[in-house]
């Protein structure tokens, strides 16, 4: 697996898509810092990019990589290695290089603007961690979709649907549900529902740094416990890691059963 990872990284870090991706984050982040000296404003803009664009790009790139390397995958399948290693290696290569582009693209401006020494370091670390986790989660989901669908159009369609659902529609349904049942105690439901969506979870992770004053304004004991201590951060991180492992496990399972 490490060998596959190594060579797919060799391949991917030289890919022009990775350069574009890196360049986009670099210019975007530099642009934000240049336009606004207001750290919180920069953080909010970056948060939107991380919550919307990172999952989308990770999904699309994962599919593209998978479908484009189908023949190469066949070559690898004929080699004396367990087949799940091939896919896990390739997946880690994709997720790793996406994360690398993201980390460098956003991290370099942070360093340039001296944020490592500022009090906002926690917020920016959270942004970076969320971005990396989302890259892993969504490239994993896309790999799984690609493994399950040999038809590219179907694969891309499904992936976009999943992205749309998690990035936008899910919150709409959640809000609808909350508004409709607002006479009932809903805090467990609200928090629980957020756990089932990695994008929501990342958002809450960032909110814990960005808007803690507002989040603390709620009476519910569960909220207070979740948001008021490190518990919220720890649980969010653990569930996000679970979200990373879930596609990984699914990829392994699907790869063992698939015909090529």
């Amino acid at each position: 697996m490490n060998k596959i990872l190594k060579y797919s990284l060799y391949d991917l870090v030289r890919s022009r898509w990775m350069f574009f991706y890196f360049g986009f984050f670099l210019l975007f982040t530099l642009g934000l810092f240049w336009l606004s000296p207001d750290i919180s404003k920069v953080a909010i803009s970056m948060m939107n990019i991380i919550l919307i664009l990172v999952p989308l790009i990770a999904t699309m790139f994962g599919l593209m990589y998978f479908y484009n390397s189908r023949e190469f995958t066949e070559l690898l399948l004929a080699q004396p290695i367990p087949r799940q290693h091939i896919f896990l290696g390739q997946y880690l290569g994709v997720a790793g290089s996406l994360s690398l582009s993201f980390l460098l693209g956003m991290g370099v401006p942070f360093l340039l603007y001296g944020l490592t020494a500022s009090s906002d370091i926690g917020l920016f670390l959270t942004l970076l961690v969320s971005g990396v986790l989302l890259s892993f989660i969504f490239s994993g989901i896309s790999f799984y979709i690609a493994l399950k669908n040999d038809n590219r159009i179907r694969g891309f369609g499904l992936a976009i649907l999943v992205w749309l659902l998690l990035a936008v529609a899910y919150d709409g349904f959640l809000l609808l549900g909350l508004a409709h049942f607002s006479d009932y105690p809903l805090e467990k439901y609200a928090l629980g529902a957020s756990l089932f969506n990695p994008i929501d979870l990342s958002r809450i992770l960032i909110l814990l740094k960005l808007d803690i004053a507002a989040l603390m304004g709620f009476t519910g004991a569960v909220f207070k416990k979740f948001l008021g201590s490190n518990l919220g951060m720890i649980i969010s991180l653990i569930v996000l890691l679970f979200w990373v492992l879930l596609p990984l496990w699914s990829i392994r399972r699907a790869s063992l059963r698939k015909d090529f």
Binding site: K3, R14, S15, F72, L75, Q79, P80, F260
Partner: protein
């Protein structure tokens, strides 16, 4: 060395292999697996390599059931049909990777020389022509000295000179006592190097025999004609069969 017993493979509703039993035991034999499109050639090869998982049946390689195994693939060299590699890797890196995976002595240097690939080694694979990529593919396949070679359309995209060298290479392996399985659409290649023909039709073996026997059976001057007659005979019987009810 390769034994297949009552192999069935179904993709959805489509039954590709039906009760196929086949063995390749004779060392120093080149078997051409032929058949029309969709007859199950590729599925058969991929089943042997463990890429396609049989619905039913048994495949043994070197005496062992291959289900859930992967180590046996170290003794098989496979030449895939389409030579597409990661775009941003170089040929040397690709060779290094396979060597890294197999960790045995390889004879890639001699093969690179044979196919005159030196000048292309440091270029990203995306910039190589189809023929050159096929040569890279060939080096990848033949760089290990294995008892079994499986070649899927080995001549695709090659220039005549390279084809001649490839044939020499295959004959050389045969003389070294290897089992070579070959699929191709080029009947002259079969005529040239194959010892026997396995003809698949609708997922089972329609014909198996040595080249001289094939020519004799169909009273054909060469393999191409023999196969044509074989197929034509099949068609006429089928037509007759379909015509009957009406």
């Amino acid at each position: 060395m390769i034994e297949i017993e009552q192999l069935y493979k179904r993709f959805g509703k489509n039954e590709v292999l039906k009760d196929l039993s086949l063995a390749f035991r004779q060392k120093g034999t080149i078997s051409a697996i032929l058949g029309p499109n969709g007859s199950g050639k590729t599925t058969l090869i991929k089943s042997i390599l463990g890429m396609v998982l049989p619905t039913r049946g048994l495949i043994r390689a070197f005496g062992e059931d291959i289900r859930g195994r992967w180590a046996y693939r170290d003794k098989i060299s496979y030449l895939p049909q389409i030579a597409r590699f990661p775009e941003n890797l170089r040929a040397t890196e690709l060779f290094d990777m396979v060597k890294d995976l197999r960790r045995r002595d390889a004879r890639d240097k001699a093969l690179i020389e044979l196919f005159e690939l030196e000048e292309h080694l440091q270029k990203p694979l995306a910039y190589l022509s189809g023929g050159t990529r096929q040569k890279v593919n060939l080096v990848l396949t033949f760089m290990y000295d294995n008892p079994v070679y499986i070649l899927d359309e080995p001549t695709a995209g090659l220039d005549p000179l390279s084809i001649i060298r490839l044939k020499q290479l295959i004959r050389h392996e045969k003389e070294a006592g290897k089992i070579v399985l070959l699929t191709t659409h080029i009947m002259s290649l079969v005529e040239d190097i194959a010892d026997e023909v396995v003809f698949l039709l609708d997922g089972h073996i329609h014909y198996r025999g040595s080249i001289p026997q094939l020519k004799a059976d169909y009273q054909a001057p060469d393999v191409e004609q023999a196969i044509a007659r074989l197929l034509a005979g099949e068609e006429t019987t089928e037509k007759a069969f379909t015509l009957n009810p009406s």
